[in-house]
Symmetry: C2
Subunit: 201 residues, 2 copies
DNA sequence: TCCAGCACTAAACGACGTTCAATTAGACCG
DNA sequence: CGGTCTAATTGAACGTCGTTTAGTGCTGGA
């Protein structure tokens, strides 16, 4: 066959990314493949490669959406004037978002790009902006401390929570602990708050 | 061909696991395959399946060795009478071991077993015993606290460090923070000590 | 209306994990 | 020693994967 009038270049591109997102969300990243995706959109696998560099390219676009969605979830977190409470609210926003998009979140960290391939800079920036939000809470708890310290705490708490969550999503949290993920995350938040509040000036 | 006198059943089994360990250590879990392993030992891929259930079975045996090695590294950690210092020494033992066996450590957490497959119980026990060692340090810092709390702190610090290390090994730590893994791990330890020391009774 | 160029397909490549019929070397028995 | 049974090993096969490419025919512009 040859050219089809079914979709314009742009329509096809967004059809691909939309369908990829649905497939990953429903079946998980392991069941996702060039062939299953092309089958789902009614084209051949080869067609994907005329519109995208490779599968990584497609997954990366899906991942970007996932990160944007998390940013929105943070923005929608229950407000509070107490920075400690706010940290817990962010934690809940995080937990809620991930519960909703488990497979998509896993794709962000489980999908194996080719060895040398470097992470797109807007990934880093998207995460950095989330960490800035968290760091602001720490800053509010102890305004006398250097904001470098607050940023550091923000990174640490984000990394800690991410790790626990990803252990949980991949079914390996019970390798390390026997408690519920929600409990653990809030314990971690309390821990970081407690440590931060007692830091030497 | 048929039966060969090259190796006894036991010899072949340990040849397989030894070679698998070497291959994973050198090339990483991604480059590891039934075909590359069988090529390395001078047998056909089919032969592997007469001695092991599947590849998962082989990787699991390698992973068990990795865990045992980590336990030994903990046992060999620099002793100290100060429990806080000791926690840092364990952290260094952990970092040192992983620096040495990066690919093997990644295999433990990156290898994707089939969906339903459950983690072997001695995995969990091996990790639990490491956490007990860590929890003991916490207990020593504040003997007045319940030992449940100490265990909980042990789990949290283990999970946190594990996560940061695995983010680092998979090249994703810089998604979240810009600092050296060693620095980050010791910051985490300090944070957990600080929080633990200030816990309400 | 014609044609160049583009979008698309189908087939192919070399990998992967896994299975299995066929083969045959070694073990055992008489 | 000869025969037979057993179990270890092979090689080919199946269906999967990501990716490439030659060829085909539709479509937009002249």
């Amino acid at each position: 066959m040859a050219r089809r009038a079914d979709h314009s270049k742009e329509e096809l591109a967004s059809l691909v990314v939309n369908t990829a997102e649905e497939l990953i969300a429903e079946e998980g990243i392991d069941a996702f493949s060039a062939r299953s995706l092309s089958r789902a959109i009614g084209y051949t696998a080869g067609t994907l490669y005329h519109h995208f560099k490779d599968l990584d390219d497609i997954v990366t676009q899906v991942n970007t959406r996932t990160l944007v969605g998390l940013a929105r979830a943070f923005a929608d977190a229950t407000p509070s004037s107490d920075p400690r409470q706010m940290l817990h609210n962010y934690a809940d926003a995080f937990l809620g978002y991930i519960a909703l998009k488990r497979n998509l979140w896993n794709a962000l960290f489980e999908f194996r790009r080719k060895p040398d391939q470097l992470v797109p800079p807007w990934y880093i920036e998207a995460i950095a902006s989330l960490i800035r939000i968290i760091a602001q809470c720490f800053q509010d708890i102890r305004p006398d401390l250097d904001d470098k310290v607050a940023r550091q705490s923000g990174q640490l708490v984000f990394a800690s929570i991410h790790s626990v969550v990803s252990l949980d999503s991949s079914g390996r949290l019970n390798l390390i602990m026997d408690r519920d993920i929600g409990k653990v995350v809030h314990e971690l938040v309390d821990m970081h708050i407690l440590a931060y509040a007692h830091r030497a000036k």
